[in-house]
Amino acid sequence: MINPLALENRTILVTGASSGIGRATAVLLSQLGATIVAAGRNAGRLEETTHSLEGGGHHAMVFDLADLDAIPGWMAKVVEQAGPLDGLVHSAGIGSIAPLRVLAMPEVEQVMRVNYLSAVALTKEFSRKRTHRKDASIVLISSVAGVVGAAGRTAYSASKGALTAFARSAALELASAGLRVNCIAPAYVRTEMYDAARGSLTDEQLNALVAAQPLGLGEPLDVAHAVAFLLAATGRWITGAVLAVDGGYTAQ
């Protein structure tokens, strides 16, 4: 029997690993044999993730990606501790629901910093020869919000759309170095971020939102499976793609 998703002897950095899609991804990748470098802001929640990982030799790195200037030094530390990387999954992100009339510029800047600019800084560092190994792969978690608009989501949508545009150009630039760069665009997934957004929706709005996903609400594992597919040998010929993992949301 073969397992084309096997990730043995591969070291993968997962940002946003302390919750939601990032946590589910870290756990699944470890179950496929990968060594995980789990990064997150909250030490306690990050520890919960590392306890759920299968196998040993994993690393937990508490770090706030909003501190862009510190990313190069931090990545050097990651490589020092874990060795060169085979994969990067950027799942860290913050939500934002604010119509333009009350949207404060510092909020826009923070959303862009955490969701998008950090991905640029991470990819830049990852692409250095000393940071990654041969046939490495980057997966950025974007969103259907980067493809389809929604009132009150301008800042969030822009940050996620920027990720997909960035991934396409980075994919072309880094192909000759053997690096692949892809995005996943999930729709609503049952995560802490979804729970927070749910509070600002009426029952009617919530029902409409769930109904807009023909296969219903997603689970973090649904997205994690797609991440594994892009990271493993199964994704060998895929780069610059935006994979919709959205229960049919954008098929309509």
């Binding site: 119509p99 009350v102 600002s200």
Partner: protein, 76 residues
């Protein structure tokens, strides 16, 4: 809560001139009180008053004062 200041915040939420919204006013008589205004109200409550207002309770509000009380209840 300073109700005058709160009404000025609601002016922003409705994109109305300062002083448009008055205490005691009925929401169905406020121009622009629609689904985007509701999203703006929730965002404003978070930013300016530090509370997460449950959207489900907003349709039950009839007046400007009801909205103020909704915020106060979250603070309690």
């Amino acid at each position: 809560m300073d109700l005058t200041a709160f009404c000025l915040k609601l002016d922003e939420v409705l994109d109305a001139s300062p002083g448009t919204v008055q205490p005691g006013q009925a929401l169905d008589q406020l121009e622009g009180w629609d689904s985007v205004a509701v999203l703006a109200f929730i965002a404003m409550a978070d930013t300016d008053y530090g509370v997460s207002v449950p959207a489900k309770e907003i349709p039950e509000c009839r007046t400007v004062d009801d909205l103020a009380n909704l915020i106060l209840r979250q603070k309690a």
